[in-house]
């Protein structure tokens, strides 16, 4: 199979890191164009894209409309507000939107958990960085024994929290908590985020507490957690248990601590929170691209070379 065309809208930190990831390891996606709203002189992301020989535009969504028939998937790496405006346009153009903003027009997707059930949608949302890191673990525990309550604490380096996150930090806690329930399967979810300014910057870390129905199944629970970590590592190589899971038998609780070291594609390695978002989006795009190529081989824009 060859490749289908995709576009990245929003060449900021996230969009640029995503570009690196797709270039580095996508089997089925070819970046047809990277689109911003400022010229390359004011956009490092566009400059980098240009240097890599990728077609660029800085006329916003128009830049996408111009090439829409060569593209099947659009990655939204702008803001929630922009995506709410853009989503209907993408739909009209017949594109699949993979939304990295908190807009959540489409359902939450966690590649390791529920990508298969959403491959028929035309808009999917990547939740939050904390959600990508923690929801799969809750899902893994819940598969063995019902999770009555899941609580996660994401610690991220202050330097890796952008102005959007800072201005609306409630969005992180509320969206993540909802995903713990809707996708993770917990009866009730709670999320906490802590920004730590320590220098050198701390590596993204997540603590996941699950109160389960039946802690006597702890061996199976631990096995399920380990299996899930391996699954996630396939698309987020820097994802790992920080310490072995801790079981608090008297509280029916298992506590898992995860750290995410970024691949350092464009963003620094401590920013595992951003890395896991772009890695999850790339993995999601890959699944969609594979499906499109199977069903509509005529969409191939770049034949498999060599």
């Amino acid at each position: 199979m060859g490749k289908i065309g995709v576009a990245i809208v929003g060449p900021g930190n996230i969009g640029t890191d995503l570009m690196f990831k797709i270039l580095k390891r996508s089997k089925y996606m070819y970046i047809r164009r990277v689109i911003g709203i400022f010229p390359p002189s004011q956009s490092e992301g566009l400059r980098i894209a240009q240097q890599k020989g990728i077609d660029i535009a800085w006329n916003g969504v128009e830049g996408l409309e111009e090439i829409a028939d060569e593209v099947d998937i659009v990655f939204e790496a702008t803001t929630a507000k922009a995506h709410l405006q853009n989503a209907p346009v993408y739909k009209k153009l017949g594109l699949i939107a993979i939304d990295l903003t908190p807009a959540a027009v489409g359902p939450y997707v966690i590649p390791a958990v529920n990508i298969e059930e959403h491959l028929d949608k035309d808009n999917v949302n990547m939740v939050t960085c904390g959600g990508q890191a923690t929801v799969p673990i809750v899902y893994a525990v819940n598969k063995v024994s019902r999770v009555e309550y899941a609580e996660i604490v994401s610690s991220i380096a202050s330097k890796s929290a952008g102005p959007g996150t800072r201005k609306n930090i409630d969005e992180f806690t509320q969206t993540t908590a909802k995903a713990l329930e809707k996708v993770g399967g917990a009866k009730r979810g709670k999320a906490i985020i802590i920004l730590n300014p320590a220098e050198p910057p701390i590596i993204m870390q997540n603590t996941i507490h699950c109160i389960v129905e039946d802690i006597s199944k702890k061996e199976e629970i631990l096995q399920s957690i380990h299996d899930m970590v391996k699954t996630i590592q396939q698309y987020v190589p820097g994802y790992a248990l920080k310490i072995p899971p801790v079981v608090f038998e008297d509280e029916n609780r298992v506590t898992v601590i995860i750290r995410v070291i970024g691949e350092g594609d464009y963003l620094p390695t401590y920013a595992g929170n951003l890395d896991i978002m772009t890695a999850a989006a790339a993995a999601t795009g890959e699944k969609f691209a594979e499906k499109i190529l199977k069903e509509k081989p005529e969409r191939e824009v770049l034949p498999k070379s060599g």
């Binding site: 604490v153 800072r166 930090i169 806690t173 906490i192 300014p197 507490h209 310490i243 609780r253």
Partner: protein
């Protein structure tokens, strides 16, 4: 310093936080009934502002920080029902609590909201400060762990809170790590740079809660936090009945009735049998500059993993944990235990 004559006495506002910071010392287990009783005694003593929340603020009830005995709503409605003159206040830490929690507080009769962030992260408080101002609350921006940075950074961050609409900025010595000189340095600069009033919240890990509070008042702070018998995280806060007496001797007017606040402290004795003190571990919190509410969590982790709690505290200080990172305690303890154990597995 303040003026001499009775009429010219400088006013210091006391914010009582027995029912918020004090919650740390009782593992967030005050009952609504106990809170109502204590709040009633504080109102009798003419304490102007009474803060009620989980120790980690609204929405703090959790595995990470400990579950409270009742919901925010139950505590706030209970206390509001016995207050007529004293104002009901809440604390909220963005990242832990949300605007939804503030809505509940407003509906329960809250008049004052304190929005607290780590001293370098003031920009995560904007949505909450703006919301509280819209709801007509007196809104106080709070910077925590203020010992970790110098006056310039504090000014920059306090100005952000001021720009969002905060009516006052509070400095918290969350780790009880400051000596009077540190307090003075920060408040003097802040007073010159801000147009809103300044408050100070002390912890007693180095035995300086009263001394630091007094120094804060002397250099321009107009609001101070206290708790009955010093009940609070770590070695506790500035002991309120002592603070009231000391401020009076120093020539300040608090409006608090000394005998009645002593009565309230006695009531607390009957409710809380074991008060925080400066033991070796809490002394180290202050010495290493570690968030005071880590204390009881550290004791629990030390017991589970069979470690000396002092080693855990020192390591947390080395890693520069900030307020709210109680989960790091488990991690540090587990790692230390794994190093000690030949099998290296604690699960």
């Amino acid at each position: 310093m303040c003026g001499g004559g009775k009429l010219g006495k400088k006013r210091i506002r006391i914010i009582d936080t027995t029912l918020r910071d004090g919650m740390h010392a009782v593992k967030h287990k005050f009952t609504v009934e106990q809170m109502v009783k204590i709040a009633g005694a504080l109102e009798d003593a003419k304490v102007e502002t009474i803060e009620v929340s989980h120790g980690d603020g609204l929405g703090g009830s959790s595995i990470n920080y400990g579950f409270a005995a009742a919901s925010d709503k139950e505590y706030l409605e209970g206390v509001a029902s016995v207050l007529s003159k004293s104002k009901l206040a809440v604390l909220l830490l963005p990242g832990i609590g949300t605007v939804e929690d503030l809505k509940i507080a407003v509906n329960a009769g809250t008049k004052v909201a304190r929005i607290a962030t780590h001293v370098t992260e003031a920009d995560i408080s904007e949505e909450h400060i703006v919301y509280c101002k819209e709801m007509g609350l007196e809104t106080i921006g709070v910077l925590m762990m203020t010992h970790t940075v110098g006056p310039d950074k504090i000014v920059e961050q306090a100005k952000l809170m001021e720009s969002y609409g905060a009516d006052m900025v509070y400095l918290m010595d969350s780790a009880g790590a400051m000596i009077p000189r540190d307090v003075e340095e920060r408040i003097v600069v802040l007073k010159n740079e801000l147009s809103i009033p300044i408050g100070f919240h002390a912890h007693n890990n180095l035995g300086l809660a009263i001394g630091n509070s007094l120094r804060a008042a002397d250099v321009g702070a107009v609001s101070l936090d206290g708790t009955l018998r010093g009940l609070g995280a770590g070695a506790g806060n500035a002991q309120e009945e002592v603070l009231v007496a000391v401020l009076d001797k120093a020539g300040y007017e608090t409006g608090v009735d000394l005998y009645r606040i002593m009565d309230a402290a006695e009531l607390l004795d009957s409710i809380v049998p074991q008060l925080p003190k400066i033991d070796n571990t809490s002394l180290l919190l202050g010495y290493a500059g570690v968030y005071s509410s880590f204390l009881l969590h550290t004791y629990r982790a030390a017991e589970k993993f069979k470690l000396d709690p002092r080693d855990i505290i020192i390591e947390l200080g080395r890693r520069k944990a900030v307020g709210g990172q109680e989960d790091w305690i488990i991690e540090v303890a587990a790692e230390m235990a794994a190093k000690k154990s030949p099998r290296g597995n604690v699960a």
